[in-house]
C-alpha cells in the first residue's frame, strides 16, 4: 500500500473524475476501486478469462480518501475495499448495496471470526477480503533482535532512529498497547496518556512516514512501524530484514469487499464477490500479496513458506492479542488533537 504516491496523486488530480460516463457498450464491465497494490493482477485476469467481463482498476491511498471521493459523488465504481470501521461508516451513510453474499453456498469457506463489521453481522453486504497485522520491520545488523515495542524504542539508547507510521490511530495505538488501554478508547485521559507515551519516546523517532522500507533496508534507520506486507521485502532480503509482531501486542487491519449502491454494474460486482469465494482464487491472491485470507480451505493451497510464516498466520494466542480499530465517531477529535501535539513535540 504505497500511500504517499496515492496521496500525491490526489493532490494533483483532485477533481478529475475517474470516469467519463461511457456510453453503454455491448462489452460487460466491472470497475474496481482498491488500495494501491492490494490485489494480485492475476486474479483480475482470471476473472476476465472466465466471465468475459472487462475489469478496470483504480487505486486510493486511505479510507478517508476513498470515502471523500465517493461522498463527493464519484460514480462509476462498482466495488470498494474499506477497512472494517469504514465498512461500518459507509453502511451508516447508506453507500453500500446489499448482496446477500453471506447466503451463498461457498460462504462456508469463510472463517466466521472475520465477519467483524458490527453493522453487517450476517455478511448481507460485504465479503471479508484480507487481513494482516501492523508490527515492526527492522534491519538485523543495525537493530539486533527486536521482540516488541520496548526494544523498538530502546534503540534510541544506542543512538539509532526509527520511523513510525504517519497515521494517528496506529501511532497513538502503540501508546495504548504499552499502557494496557484499548486502541479504541474514548476516555480523554487514556488517549492523552497514550499520546504521552509516544511523545516520551520522541527522541527515537526520526519521522512519520509510509515510505520507510528503503531506509530500513539501507540502514539509514534501524527499524520502522509497518504492515505485515513488509514480509514481501523480508523475502527479498532475508539476510538484512526481519518482521515481527510485537510481543506486547499489536493492531490488525481487515478490509472487506463491498459493492456500492451507485454501482453501474451491480450484477458483475456480485459475480466477482462470488468468484472470490473460491479457495483457489483467494490462494492465488495471497501468493502475491503475502497477507492473511479469511478463506479457510484457501489456507491449504497457499505456498508453504507463507502458510508457515508465524507473522502472517500467527497462532490463536497471538491473534487474541491483536486489536482492530473501530469507528469512534465524534471522539476521533480527541485523537486528532493529541496527534497534533505528537507531531509538534521535538
Amino acid at each position: 500500500m504505497t500511500r504517499t504516491f496515492a496521496r500525491a496523486a490526489l493532490v494533483f488530480l483532485l477533481g478529475l473524475s475517474p470516469f467519463s460516463s461511457t456510453a453503454a457498450s455491448a462489452e460487460e464491465e466491472l470497475h474496481i476501486y482498491n488500495w494501491g497494490d492490494y490485489i494480485n493482477p492475476a486474479v483480475l485476469e482470471k476473472f476476465t478469462d472466465e466471465t468475459g467481463i472487462k475489469v478496470t482498476l483504480d487505486t486510493y491511498g486511505s479510507n478517508e480518501e476513498m470515502l471523500a471521493k465517493i461522498q463527493a459523488g464519484a460514480t462509476g465504481y462498482d466495488i470498494v475495499f474499506p477497512s472494517v470501521h469504514m465498512h461500518d461508516i459507509m453502511f451508516k451513510l447508506g453507500l453500500l448495496a446489499k448482496t446477500d453474499i453471506g447466503e451463498h453456498p461457498d460462504f462456508k469457506n469463510i472463517d466466521p471470526q472475520f465477519i467483524r463489521a458490527k453493522t453487517d453481522p450476517d455478511a448481507a453486504y460485504c465479503l471479508p477480503y484480507a487481513w494482516g497485522n501492523v508490527g515492526i520491520v527492522y534491519n538485523k545488523a543495525e537493530a539486533g533482535e527486536i521482540k516488541g515495542w520496548k526494544d523498538f524504542f530502546a534503540l534510541a539508547d544506542k543512538g539509532k532512529k526509527v520511523i513510525l507510521l504517519d497515521d494517528l490511530r496506529e501511532t497513538i495505538g502503540i501508546g495504548h498497547i504499552m499502557n494496557g488501554t484499548s486502541v479504541n478508547s474514548t476516555d480523554e485521559e487514556e488517549v492523552a496518556a497514550a499520546a504521552q507515551y509516544v511523545i516520551d519516546h520522541a527522541d527515537a523517532v526520526s519521522a512519520f512516514s509510509y515510505d520507510s522500507i528503503p531506509l530500513v533496508t539501507s540502514g539509514d534507520v534501524a527499524a520502522a512501524h509497518w504492515y505485515v506486507g513488509a514480509n514481501i521485502f523480508v523475502a527479498k532480503n532475508p539476510d538484512i530484514l526481519a518482521y515481527v509482531i510485537p510481543e506486547e501486542g499489536a493492531t490488525m487491519y481487515q478490509e472487506d469487499m463491498c459493492v456500492l449502491k451507485s454501482a453501474p454494474n451491480y450484477d458483475n460486482a456480485v459475480k466477482f464477490l462470488e468468484f472470490y469465494l473460491k479457495p483457489e482464487i483467494a490462494a492465488l491472491n495471497v501468493e502475491q500479496q503475502m497477507n492473511g485470507t479469511p478463506n479457510v480451505p484457501a489456507q491449504d493451497l497457499i505456498p508453504e513458506e507463507i502458510a508457515d510464516n508465524e507473522t502472517i498466520y500467527p497462532d490463536q494466542e497471538t491473534m487474541d492479542k491483536l486489536q482492530i480499530f473501530e469507528d469512534l465517531g465524534r471522539d476521533l477529535q480527541l485523537y486528532n488533537r493529541e496527534w497534533t501535539r505528537i507531531k509538534t513535540a521535538q
Partner: protein, 295 residues
C-alpha cells in the same frame, strides 16, 4: 459612440473569460471555505448547517469544550510556517539574484538555453524529485558520503527529516518562481546607468545600493511574493523531507480534511493562511508604490 462600443466589446471579449475563470475557480471555492469555517463539523466529513464559532475559537482562544479546545499549538505551527516560508524566500533570493545577473550577461543563444535549464525541473514529477532529495540527504546518502569522504565529518550528519531539509527542498522547488521575475527586471537594467554611476565616482557598493537595487526591487518583491505564498501552504515537502515531523500549516489543513474528518476546522485554518497572504499582498502594493514615488 461606435468606437466606444467596440472597445467595450473587445474589453469584454478579452477580460470576460479570465474573469469568469477567476470567479468560478477562485472566488466560489473561497466563499465555500469561508462559509464552511463557520459551520459545525459533520460526523464523517462534510458539514452540518448550523453556526459554529469554535473552529476559530480553537485557534484564537475562546474554545473550551471536550472536542474543541483552544491550544496555542495551532498559532505556533502558523508562526513556524511563516518562518520557514520566509527563510525559503531568503535562500531562493540569495541563489537566484547572482544567477539572474550572470544569465542576463550571456549571449542571447546561451541565455535562452540557460532559462530553459532553470525551468527544466518542471518536466519531472515533484514527488520523484523530492525522493531524489531523500537519497541525497539521508545518513548514508550522497551528501554525507561526500562530507565523510573529504574528512569534514566522521559521523553522518542528520540532514534528512529536519527544518534544514524542508528549507532545502522548498528552495529547490520554488527557485524558478523567484528567478523568472528577478531575471525580467535585471535584464531591463540599463548598462549606461551603471557606467554613469561609476563615472560619477560611486563605489561598486554604492552603485549596487543606489542604482541596481532600486531598479530591480520590483523583481525582488514580485519573486518573493510568488515564492512565499506557495511555500507557506506547502505540505508535500514537509511531509517527504521533514518526515511529517516538521508540521507546517499545510500539513495541518490536509490532516483536518482527510484523517481527522474535520472540514470546518480545516477551512478555518485555510482562511488564516488566506488572511496572511492578503496582508502580504497589501504590503507589497505599498512597498512598490512607495518606492516608485520616491524615485
Amino acid at each position: 459612440m461606435k468606437p466606444m462600443r467596440r472597445r467595450t466589446l473587445s474589453l469584454l471579449g478579452l477580460l470576460g473569460l479570465p474573469t469568469a475563470f477567476l470567479l468560478f475557480f477562485f472566488f466560489c471555492p473561497l466563499i465555500i471555505m469561508a462559509v464552511y469555517s463557520f459551520l459545525t463539523p459533520g460526523l464523517y466529513g462534510g458539514v452540518e448547517w448550523t453556526f459554529f464559532d469554535l473552529n476559530y475559537g480553537r485557534i484564537l482562544g475562546w474554545a473550551d469544550t471536550k472536542y474543541e479546545r483552544f491550544d496555542p499549538v495551532y498559532l505556533e505551527i502558523f508562526l513556524r510556517s511563516l518562518r520557514l516560508a520566509a527563510l525559503t524566500v531568503l535562500t531562493s533570493l540569495i541563489v537566484s539574484y547572482p544567477t539572474a545577473f550572470w544569465i542576463s550577461r550571456m549571449t542571447p543563444a546561451r541565455r535562452t538555453f540557460a532559462i530553459f535549464l532553470v525551468t527544466l525541473p518542471f518536466f519531472v514529477s515533484l514527488i520523484v524529485r523530492l525522493f531524489a532529495w531523500v537519497l541525497i540527504l539521508r545518513p548514508t546518502g550522497f551528501l554525507n558520503q561526500g562530507l565523510m569522504g573529504i574528512g569534514a565529518t566522521s559521523e553522518p550528519i542528520e540532514f534528512l527529516y529536519t527544518d534544514f531539509a524542508v528549507i532545502v527542498g522548498m528552495t529547490y522547488v520554488f527557485i524558478p518562481f523567484m528567478f523568472l521575475p528577478l531575471y525580467a527586471s535585471i535584464e531591463k537594467l540599463d548598462v549606461d546607468q551603471l557606467e554613469a554611476s561609476s563615472d560619477l565616482g560611486a563605489t561598486r557598493f554604492q552603485t549596487f545600493r543606489k542604482v541596481i537595487l532600486p531598479a530591480t526591487l520590483p523583481g525582488i518583491v514580485g519573486g518573493s511574493v510568488l515564492t512565499f505564498i506557495p511555500a507557506l501552504g506547502n505540505f508535500i515537502v514537509p511531509s517527504v523531507l521533514g518526515g511529517a515531523k516538521v508540521v507546517m500549516i499545510g500539513n495541518l489543513i490536509e490532516q483536518q480534511f482527510l484523517s481527522a474528518r474535520n472540514w470546518p476546522f480545516g477551512s478555518a485554518l485555510a482562511m488564516m493562511v488566506m488572511a496572511a497572504v492578503l496582508l502580504l499582498l497589501l504590503l507589497q502594493l505599498r512597498l512598490v508604490k512607495g518606492r516608485g514615488e520616491a524615485l
